[in-house]
């Protein structure tokens, strides 16, 4: 199948380029998940680092084909959960069991209070709150760190300028190699992408 190569001037919808623009990267389009997997393995083995795959649905095994490393997110979430446990314990221990004054914006006091004859430091009564705060801290940390690591929220992305790329949410599979990759050279990277036999290759402006 002949590969269609689109240069920036063609995508400009007839408008002459007023000034030289920066290239965001090269977009290669594939028809099937299998083609994408094979191509991703070659990109991985070619040593590219700033590149990504875009698919309309999760493709099993793509992480391995792309050589994506394990995320450190679980460790951070574990830390956040442990922090939640500790905060809940200290909060309850201080407010229910200890009575020294503490500065927290204003001076506050712990307030030991006899409840149904239980000792002031009654761990069983604290556990539900410790459990809940563990869950809360972990869940919030998971979502927030996931956004942070993925660079979200992102309201604009250079790939949105490509008309072909719209099919990434429908029936086509894409690989994009970004210009900031240390191995990126416009001509040579385009030659490399051609060897992966995509349906089309497009240069995307930043």
């Amino acid at each position: 199948m002949a590969t269609i190569v689109t240069t920036p001037t063609e995508t400009g919808a007839g408008q002459p380029a007023a000034k030289p623009t920066r290239i965001y990267g090269l977009l290669a389009e594939f028809e099937t998940p299998g083609d994408l997997m094979a191509a991703a393995e070659k990109c991985r083995d070619a040593g590219y680092r700033w590149w990504d795959c875009h698919t309309p649905f999760p493709v099993h095994g793509l992480d391995g084909a792309m050589g994506i490393k394990r995320t450190i997110l679980p460790w951070l979430v574990f830390g956040a959960g442990a922090t939640g446990t500790l905060v809940a314990f200290l909060l309850q221990a201080y407010t229910n069991s200890w009575n020294f004054p503490m500065w927290a914006g204003v001076w506050v006091h712990g307030y030991p209070f006899l409840i149904s004859g239980k000792p002031a430091m009654s761990l069983p009564a604290f556990i539900p709150v410790m459990f809940e705060l563990t869950i809360l801290f972990s869940a919030l940390a998971t979502v927030k760190l996931m956004f942070l690591f993925n660079g979200l929220p992102l309201l604009y992305h250079p790939l949105f300028t490509s008309n072909r790329f719209r099919r990434a949410s429908n029936d086509r599979f894409f690989i994009v190699i970004e210009a900031r990759d240390p191995k990126f050279l416009p001509k040579r990277t385009e030659e490399f992408l051609k060897t992966l036999s995509p349906v089309s290759i497009e240069t995307v402006q930043d």
Binding site: P58, R70, F78, S116, G117, P124, A125, P128
Partner: protein, 436 residues
């Protein structure tokens, strides 16, 4: 997706136990005879200070230690049909084989019938002899007397017969159906098993709950906890998933099920053990404890008080850390669940602590004079040397014997059938399954 082809090897050498497996079965039978026989001999002669109280409790623990993996296997099987799960087909046969033991496991309950005919059932269940209960502990007698419509020998044995009948019926239905499908490949068998999985879940829930009430909770007949059935169910799940993991790991290490059972399946079985054996067990155990601790009603707290006096306090702590905290942290990570050696070690560990859990449920005695003390200090001083007799060999002989009997039954079943439901419509989906 059922008709997609796979390249997995479904040849006899890959999905059939080799002949030497029957040698393992004979070892298991020998262990069962030695264990149960040796335990009975110790109980009969009263060696190591074993009295009737201790022996029959130890036997109840051993019986439940053998029963719970089978119930856990049954739970796994019908839940897969209930949810029409695709991933689990490759590992369903070991669970079906475990459940198939429920067809004969009632034989291990027969010694209690003998005990009853000997008129000594009150060694284990004090309510079996209301006269002597009245003479020994009148306060408890009055509470238990009000429960006599439920707790009486006739109804007790009718219920026991119903439990075993229901379990045997469900196990035959699911195991038998799955094996018939191996031969015929008839998809309507799967549909029928799915159709009846809802009623199976209800029957299973009711029978295990009431079996836990009858056999374990009524050992302390004045005490009650509505959560007790769920707690026992957690034990069944712990034992069942551990046994499944061990069987599958062993089959893989024998070079069987190559290309059929993958790290993905181990990870998911690990998730189930993690969720039910560790997290849900701790959740239910704590919920039960906290409500009773908070309300602080004497006839309820007595049960937990007996478990934190003297030698029982370390057992309670060991259970908290051994059944929950340590394994929870150890297999929390996806990567640990995918390592078969780590997962098998976790399964052995959980089986050990499942035994400790049963021991903790059944063995402690509630001091009869518990209501006469004024303070916790007084009672803990008096019962500071409460023994737990954990080291008595009768415990281990009976437990190993009963478990070996079930292991022999499982091996015998597995050697007669293929190790995967080879004609199941979802087998291909299961083999290709990957965790996201």
């Amino acid at each position: 997706m059922g008709h997609a082809t796979t390249h997995a090897d479904l040849g006899t050498s890959n999905i059939q136990l080799p002949a030497f497996a029957l040698g393992f079965r004979n070892v298991a039978i020998a262990l069962a005879v030695i264990g149960l026989g040796g335990g009975a001999a110790i109980g009969y002669t009263g060696m190591f200070g074993t009295d009737g109280h201790h022996f029959w409790r130890a036997y109840m623990i051993a019986f439940l230690f053998a029963l719970t993996p089978c119930l856990g296997g049954l739970f796994f099987v019908f839940v897969q049909h209930l949810t029409r799960a695709g991933w689990s087909v490759a590992v369903r046969r070991p669970a079906e084989a475990l459940a198939a033991n429920l067809r004969w496991v009632w034989i291990l309950f027969l010694p209690f019938a003998v005990l009853w005919f000997m008129g000594k059932a009150n060694l284990l269940w004090v309510w079996a002899d209301m006269e002597s209960l009245k003479a020994n502990n009148e306060a408890e007698y009055h509470i238990v007397h009000a429960k006599e419509a439920f707790l009486n020998p006739t109804f007790f044995w009718i219920r026991a017969a119903v439990y075993f009948a229901v379990w045997a019926m469900l196990a035959s239905f699911y195991f038998g159906g799955s094996v018939r499908q191996d031969a015929s490949g008839d998809i309507s068998i799967s549909e029928r098993m799915q159709k009846w999985s809802g009623p199976a879940a209800i029957l299973f829930g009711l029978t295990t709950t009431f079996a836990a009430f009858d056999w374990i909770m009524s050992i302390s007949p004045a005490w009650f906890s509505t959560m007790f059935g769920v707690y026992f169910f957690c034990g069944c799940a712990t034992a069942g998933f551990s046994a499944m993991i061990l069987i599958t790991v062993r089959l893989r290490s024998l070079g069987l099920l190559k290309g059929i059972v993958t790290a993905e399946h181990f990870q998911d079985m690990g998730k189930l053990l993690f969720a039910f054996g560790m997290v849900f067990w701790a959740y239910i155990g704590f919920s039960q404890y906290m409500l009773i601790w908070y309300a602080n009603i004497p006839e309820e707290t007595g049960w937990f008080l007996a478990r934190q006096l003297g030698g029982w306090a370390p057992v309670s702590w060991a259970l908290l850390f051994g059944h929950f905290v340590i394994p929870f942290v150890a297999v929390m990570s996806k990567w640990q669940k995918r390592r078969t050696l780590v997962l098998a070690a976790a399964a052995v560990w959980m089986l050990c602590f499942h035994y400790v859990d049963l021991y903790w449920l059944i063995m402690p005695e509630i001091p009869h004079d518990i209501g006469t003390f004024k303070t916790y200090g007084e009672i803990s001083a008096k019962y500071a040397d409460t023994p737990s007799h954990f080291g008595n060999p009768v415990n281990f002989l009976l437990a190993i014997g009963a478990l070996a009997a079930v292991a022999a039954g499982t091996l015998g079943t597995l050697s007669r059938v293929s190790l995967v439901p080879k004609q199941d419509p979802r087998l291909a989906e299961s083999i290709r399954f990957e965790n996201q």
